[in-house]
């Protein structure tokens, strides 16, 4: 009793879309999935022609599908984007080293230049060495704080305009729930936005904001994409785990629950008279921060002074405010370098890629 596709009524249906409950065939599934992402991109005005766009690539399913779809759409609809793969190596042996091998294969498969920035190189500490110092209790805090900054640092090294990440509808719905449960008003507002402006002029966006996880996995499966999946060897994020399980159960009973939660999250607004923390620059590394010293610098100081609880426990912090030599490359320096690269690129019209920082990684394959 093979069912026919609800869209073309011709080929055999092989997947049920959670969004619409339609049973559709392979070709129609590829078409609707890609077209929906394209519509998200166009409706939200995510890119301008000539933008340098980094794809945050972990080697996992979401970012692998994102890299494939971004490359396909850029070619099909002539977005005119320069695409790059940008990966963060947290230094977790048995986990990230394996998944980065996948990213390196993706680089070849999709012909995109790749830059890998490592915690070791940026902060002087790999996650393995952090876990050795702090144990397995708060290590995820370090990893999360460091990762966000690492992507921004990598983006400046490549002089990118834009970073896209593989966050999907399930991730966004999960984050909305978590922020509600935690009462985190300012994050609740930000997490529903499809694009946020982060460091300097670099935009961050989630083209898969409305794409269900099931469809992403199905897409990877049907296209036979090469991706990596293992749990991080260090403790999983328990809080998110509960939110995720809850959401998956809801989805089974009512598949539209995920989009409904996103819709609710988007509809919530912070009242005008609520004071949100204003964003400033870290006095040490120049990163955007709501405190005079950013979380990454506090955590690093704790690591170096042998008090890893610094910045984690609620006891009064004794980080000395004021300028102190930071181990991190100052963001001002990174921004200056990026501007220099931009100027050089604009001046050398013959080969627009000649100043690209990834050149050492990619050779001259992008130069005409």
């Amino acid at each position: 009793m093979p069912r026919l596709c609800d869209i073309c009524n011709d080929a055999r249906a092989i997947v049920r879309r959670p969004k619409t409950a339609q049973s559709i065939c392979k070709e129609c599934f590829f078409h609707v999935f890609e077209t929906e992402v394209h519509n998200t991109i166009v409706d939200s005005n995510l890119f301008k022609p000539g933008d340098r766009v980094g794809i945050g690539a972990s080697g996992g399913k979401d970012s692998t599908v994102l890299a494939y779809v971004m490359k396909t759409l850029n070619d099909r609809y002539s977005y005119g984007l320069d695409l790059y793969l940008l990966s963060v190596d947290e230094g977790i042996s048995g986990y990230r080293d394996d998944s980065l091998e996948t990213v390196k294969r993706n680089k070849e498969q999709y012909g995109l230049p790749l830059l890998i920035v490592s915690y070791e190189q940026l902060y002087g500490w790999s996650m393995d060495s952090i876990v050795a110092a702090v144990g397995r209790k708060n290590n995820c805090t370090f990893c999360g704080v460091f990762r966000r900054q690492a992507l921004d640092r990598g983006a400046l090294m490549l002089d990118l305009d834009h970073i896209v990440t593989g966050h999907n509808a399930d991730d966004v719905a999960e984050t909305i729930l978590m922020n509600i449960f935690r009462g985190d008003i300012s994050r609740l507002g930000r997490c529903t936005e499809i694009a946020t402006t982060g460091e300097g002029y670099i935009v961050r966006s989630k083209p898969f904001k409305y794409a269900y996880e099931k469809e992403i996995v199905m897409y990877a499966y049907l296209r036979r994409l090469d991706y990596f999946s293992t749990e991080c060897t260090y403790s999983p994020n328990a809080y998110r785990g509960y939110a995720r399980e809850f959401l998956k159960k809801l989805e089974r009973v009512r598949p539209s629950a995920i989009l409904d939660i996103i819709h609710s999250g988007e509809a919530m607004h912070v009242a005008k008279d609520v004071q949100l923390p204003s964003l400033d620059r870290c006095q040490r590394c120049g990163y955007i921060s709501s405190n005079s010293i950013c979380k990454a610098c506090v955590l690093l100081e704790g690591l170096e002074r042998g008090i890893p609880k610094l910045g984690i426990s609620r006891t009064k912090q004794d980080v000395e405010a004021g300028p102190r030599e930071s181990d991190l490359v100052h963001f001002e320096k990174l921004r200056q370098d990026a501007l220099e690269m931009r100027k050089t690129r604009q001046n050398s019209a013959a080969c627009p890629q000649s100043a690209c920082a990834c050149r050492s990684e990619s050779g001259t394959e992008n130069c005409s």
Partner: protein, 163 residues
């Protein structure tokens, strides 16, 4: 997902089980079990089922099923297998084997101790695990009521692991 092709069991020829004499070299890969559908007693061992074949009794029929585990599912399976072959002895007079039976059987027999609750719950597969029957989403088929056919390939794909 190139890793699948290198999985241990996939290059084995699907033995022609209706001939009742599987090729000797593939026999060791078979994880055979006699399934009495009236009331499942102690599941017999692989040895029992295989050795019962050559006696040539014409009443017995066998069902060959391949199961695959990817995208993190292999972490739940004993020996982290990417794929398994199963031979079930079926009684033609009893109710046919369906997905519900298969999920119960895999959960009891092949999932690591202590991980069963991550595989099956409330007599079905856990939320977050995609089930693919012969390269087709099981939601398009009859899900738990799908009746297994000889040489069906069932894939379990986790959607929960890192992005």
């Amino acid at each position: 997902m190139s890793s699948i092709e290198t999985g241990k069991h996939y290059n084995q020829p699907a033995s022609n089980l209706t001939d009742k004499v599987p090729p000797v070299d593939t026999r060791k890969y078979f994880d055979a079990v006699t399934k009495s559908l009236s009331k499942a007693k102690e599941p017999p061992t692989a040895k029992d089922a295989v050795s019962s074949q050559p006696d040539g009794s014409s009443v017995k029929s066998y069902l060959h099923i391949i199961t695959k585990y990817t995208s993190g599912m292999e972490l739940l399976i004993k020996d982290k297998e990417l794929g398994l072959d199963h031979v079930f002895e079926v009684n033609p007079k009893a109710a046919p084997l369906n997905m519900k039976d298969l999920i119960k059987y895999i959960g009891e027999t092949h999932v690591l101790e202590g991980k069963q609750s991550a595989f099956t719950r409330d007599e079905t597969i856990c939320p977050g695990i995609m089930v693919i029957i012969n390269e087709c989403d099981w939601e398009v088929m009859d899900e738990l009521d799908y009746v297994l056919k000889n040489d069906d390939t069932i894939e379990f794909i986790s959607t929960l692991h890192g992005g």
